[in-house]
């Protein structure tokens, strides 16, 4: 059995109204300690108001080998971007 603590991914919400953003990872023996470690390492300079920790093993990631199949087909679908609408005059916040 490995003696090294498992890895946890850390997400911090910088301010109310913003979403949690991935900031890095920590080692910890359990979720409670992971949260404390994340607090000490990633929020010591008031970077956040909320922290999530997720076991790194629980994250399913897309593989670099699948990059072409996953992302390239979107490259030539310009009609998926909302660039074909006329924006009426005087609508500042659209």
């Amino acid at each position: 059995m490995s003696r090294e603590w498992p890895l946890w991914e850390v997400f911090v919400r910088p301010r109310r109204g913003l979403s949690h953003v991935h900031v890095g990872s920590v080692h910890a023996p359990d979720a409670t300690v992971a949260l404390r470690n994340a607090r000490d390492i990633y929020t010591r300079r008031q970077e956040g108001v909320s922290i999530w920790v997720v076991p790194a093993a629980q994250i399913t990631a897309s593989s670099p080998d699948e990059k072409d199949a996953f992302f390239d087909p979107a490259a030539d679908k310009v009609y998926r971007h909302p660039t074909f609408y006329q924006v009426p005059e005087g609508v500042p916040h659209l």
Partner: protein, 236 residues
């Protein structure tokens, strides 16, 4: 505090507890069991140092001898320090560090809570800030006491040993105050949940508050003060 204690002694007791605790915690830098714990202990050491600086600066003004936080921290000898014996004791393993932090931070939280309503507005403001930090230190020490006490056979043995060795030194914390019942209710609950035996009260070494320390303080001060004494007034 007892009637023989001056306001300066009282400030030094608070500031020196924090300063010596900070120095002991800082000795874990690069030696903690994991890098994450290394950062956590350094954070706690810096919290303690922050309180020490504020209180010792204030103490230097009260003393009125033209000194400042640095002269108090770096140019006093062991007999002039007013910290409790608990904070100066060495930490031969991580369990000792956590048992000391548990005992100290539970006491500091109660002491700062009481001081936060003090008539001395400057001390009350420092204490109000320090209460939140102590609450976090207590949380950290509790977390580890539970995990080590209720962990493996080896971690339980080490944690119980540290608690037993340090328990006598906790009596000194309550000289001149009424905080022990509240402190016991915090600490006994943690020890019970951690499956640790609460030691019986007996031997109660004391003397820190009047400058009679263990030999460990001299060595700690030698390391802490050597640069300042060798190069007085040196700046980065």
């Amino acid at each position: 505090m007892s009637s023989t204690t001056t306001p300066l002694d009282e400030l030094l007791a608070i500031g020196d507890d924090a300063l010596i605790a900070a120095q002991r915690l800082a000795q874990w830098c690069s030696r903690a069991p994991e890098m994450e714990e290394d950062v956590a202990l350094a954070n706690i050491a810096l919290d303690q140092l922050g309180v020490a600086r504020l209180v010792l600066s204030y103490a230097a003004e009260v003393e009125g001898a033209g000194g400042d936080e640095d002269t108090l921290a770096y140019l006093r000898d062991d007999r002039q320090f007013r910290n409790c014996l608990l904070v100066e004791l060495p930490e031969p393993d991580f369990a000792f560090a956590m048992a000391k932090l548990l005992f100290l931070s539970a006491f500091q939280r109660l002491r700062y809570e009481a001081l936060a309503t003090s008539a001395d507005e400057r001390l009350a403001a420092i204490a109000a800030k320090a209460v939140k930090e102590s609450a976090y230190h207590l949380d950290h020490a509790t977390m580890w006491t539970l995990r080590l006490g209720d962990g493996t056979e080896e971690s339980h043995r080490r944690m119980q040993n540290a608690v037993d060795e340090l328990w006598p030194y906790t009596h000194e914390l309550f000289e001149g105050n009424e905080l022990r019942p509240a402190w016991l209710s915090i600490v006994e609950a943690v020890l019970a949940e951690a499956t640790l035996t609460r030691p019986t009260d007996g031997w109660a070494p004391s003397g820190g508050r009047v400058g009679l320390h263990t030999e460990h303080l001299s060595y700690l001060l030698a390391e802490m003060q050597v640069v300042h004494r060798a190069h007085p007034g040196a700046r980065w």
